[in-house]
Amino acid sequence: MKIMDPKLHRPIALLIASLLIGSLVFHYSLQARLATAARLISEESIAAEVARSVHEAPARLMQDQAESTLHKRIRNSGFIGAEDRAGWITALGEARTLLNLNSLTWHLAPQTSSPLAPNLKLSKMSFSATPLNPASLSRLIAHLRATAPGRFTIESCSLILEGEGTSLGKSGQATCHLNWWTLTPNAN
């Protein structure tokens, strides 16, 4: 008997078709089952998060009320929204006039994202001014804090004092590296 007798063609075709159709049906059913299971996990995770959020809502409301004054101050400080570089440089120029400085040079780097918080942006600024002593440097920084639109922190400062006499009365060149921070909240 030949292996592939013509009388076996139809049963073999039927077998192949059943294997193919069966495999496809099984694959489709399994995929549907897996997709539903994934959807359930996602929905349950969301439900748990929303339930926790509802549970914590009163506490969050109280905290929000407690922080309303601070939030108002932050909103007025220029911390939220786009950078006001013109305002910063203007404040530097005003400080130079106020402190009667011979020179004040500055450099502002491009804005980068900060890993400290989501949507927090950082711009590094460095400036050198002369003549300055510790007291006048404090005044310069205080002036920037008071007038510049935005928030900055001081990363480092160097003061090179020149001349004779007591150190306290001397003045020299001050170089400071500042970090200007801005926050761009989500659109929603």
Partner: protein
């Protein structure tokens, strides 16, 4: 077609003898509708109608005829296709005049010496059997061919003695099975449940007043034949089993006394019905029902079908097997898929419930947060405040620290500070460089010199030490260290200098570092 593939064992059973024919339907291990068929054309027409009614059912045939041949043979022990080839060749030599022949392998022998010899020589014993005149089956096979029905097999009636012996647990020792057939008296000799030979003895009842005397004479003749062939020892009694479905052979016991070398027993109607699970009505319909019931269990190696018929049957079973596998696969897949879909539906329902719960909670949250402008506005404000607080930690005013350092140095006197460097506290600095993380970047670094210097390094060192002590007091929790003394007084250092020609300086450097955790 697919449903039929599942009924693998269903068949039509046909019993043929010189006196006539009968048939039965075999369905799920049970006999149905046992009927005798009329002789010749009328019977063939009825059989043709039966095949039309039960198309696709295979037909198994049992033949009870005197035109049979049995030969014992010993052949080398081989397996598989080699055995089939070898037995076919031997059958062609021994039973060359008939295409209907089979080689039945004898597994057990009553003579242990012979059994050992065969084992040692790697040989096996076969019973070659054949139908010497196929005229009895030819018309029926022609009808099968016309109807395209397929043949399950053809067996000589003695082959049915093997399943009978199994069912009645007669597998031990030598046994002569005697049954009354329409064509005469059937005498079948078995050893250890294996068929050795059989003969259908036509009995002319007109010769005897009591027809059983003719039977007894034939049985005695068979015993003599066994003795002549040395299959039976002269002193050994012959166990003779009378198959008596109609309970008509009881008186034969008296004609076969133990003194004549017989050990006579009977299997009566009741035992047959009970052991073979045969409905009494069927046996009443035809005594052939007994053999028809045994036919599905006949050994396959005793099947007399020709090579071509075997090929056709194999093809038929392959077709049914493929269809069965296809159907079973599809059924299994459908069942599994159904379970998967049911489970998907259950999970989907649970997901919808979770979504509804989320929605309800969201609405409740929105209601609660309405006074604060909504949850998203509140979250936004929270994010802003958190970012603000994270920057708070970086707040640092070096100018104030510089003033403190200069005030202390002025109070000590003669300390002239040239340079002050201040940086963010290391642990609060966003810079994540390894140096910074290890707390090595100083909070304040100051550089200065003793002015005016009177070449008194001891006094200079004392001033620096005083400055360090006061700085330590002013910056509690910080580490204040001198990185450069006016004179390197370390014993491990080499020192060199001159007084007189040039101005001697007393420079120093101090670092205030964050305390190492």
């Amino acid at each position: 077609m697919i449903v039929k593939a599942f009924t693998l064992n269903d068949r039509i059973l046909l019993y043929l003898s010189a006196a006539g024919a009968s048939f039965a339907l075999y369905h799920r291990g049970t006999l149905h509708e046992v009927h005798a068929l009329p002789s010749h054309e009328e019977g063939w027409e009825e059989f043709n109608a039966l095949l039309l009614k039960h198309a696709d059912k295979p037909v198994a045939i049992a033949v009870d005829t005197v035109d049979e041949v049995y030969r014992q043979d010993i052949l080398p022990r081989v397996h598989g296709a080699d055995r089939r080839e070898m037995t076919d060749r031997r059958l062609r030599q021994l039973i060359h005049h008939s295409a209907y022949r089979a080689a039945l392998r004898q597994k057990a022998l009553s003579d242990p010496v012979l059994q050992d010899q065969l084992k040692e020589r790697r040989q096996e014993r076969y019973l070659m059997m054949g139908l010497t005149n196929a005229e009895i089956v030819r018309p029926w096979l022609d009808i099968l061919h016309v109807r395209s029905a397929h043949l399950a097999g053809i067996w000589l009636l003695p082959a049915l003695a093997i399943p009978l012996a199994k069912q009645f647990r007669l597998g031990k020792g030598r046994l002569l099975l005697v049954s009354e057939q329409t064509g005469g008296l059937r005498l079948t000799y078995l050893e250890e449940g294996e068929l050795r030979f059989s003969r259908l003895a036509p009995v002319d009842s007109t010769q005897y007043e009591n027809p059983l005397e003719g039977y007894a004479e034939e049985i005695e003749r068979t015993r003599q034949s066994l003795l002549g062939q040395r299959l039976l020892a002269r002193s050994a009694p012959l166990r003779t089993l009378l198959l008596d479905p109609l309970n008509t052979l009881a008186q034969l016991h008296a004609l076969l006394p133990e003194s004549a070398g017989f050990q006579c027993e009977s299997i009566l109607r009741g035992q047959l019905l009970e052991t073979l699970k045969l409905p009494p009505t069927l046996l009443a319909e035809s005594s052939d029902a007994l053999y028809l019931k045994l036919l599905p269990d006949a050994p396959q190696s005793a099947n007399l079908m020709t090579r071509e018929q075997h090929g056709i049957t194999r093809l038929h079973w392959m077709k049914r097997g493929l269809i069965f596998i296809s159907s079973a696969w599809i059924t299994l897949i459908m069942l599994i898929s159904l379970l998967l879909w049911l489970d998907s539906w259950r999970l989907d329902h649970a997901a919808n419930q979770a979504r509804a719960a989320s929605q309800a909670n969201r609405e409740q949250e929105a209601h609660l947060m309405r006074s604060a402008g909504g949850a998203s506005r509140l979250n936004q404000r929270r994010q802003i405040v958190e970012a603000w607080h994270s920057i708070n930690a970086l707040e640092h005013d070096p100018a104030g620290l510089f003033e403190t350092v200069l005030n202390i140095s002025n109070q000590i006197g003669k300390l002239h500070i040239h340079r002050l460097d201040g940086s963010t506290y290391p642990q609060q600095n966003p810079d994540s460089s390894p140096e910074n993380q290890a707390g090595k970047v100083p909070l304040i670094r100051l550089a200065g010199e003793i002015l005016p210097f009177d070449n008194n390094f001891s006094a200079a060192h004392q001033r620096v030490q005083t400055l360090v002590a006061q700085l330590q007091t002013a910056f509690p929790g910080q580490s204040v260290s001198v990185t450069q003394w006016p004179l390197d007084a370390s014993v491990a250092s080499e020192l060199e200098g001159e007084f007189g020609h040039s101005q001697v300086t007393a420079r120093f450097q101090i670092e205030i570092k964050g305390a190492t955790p």
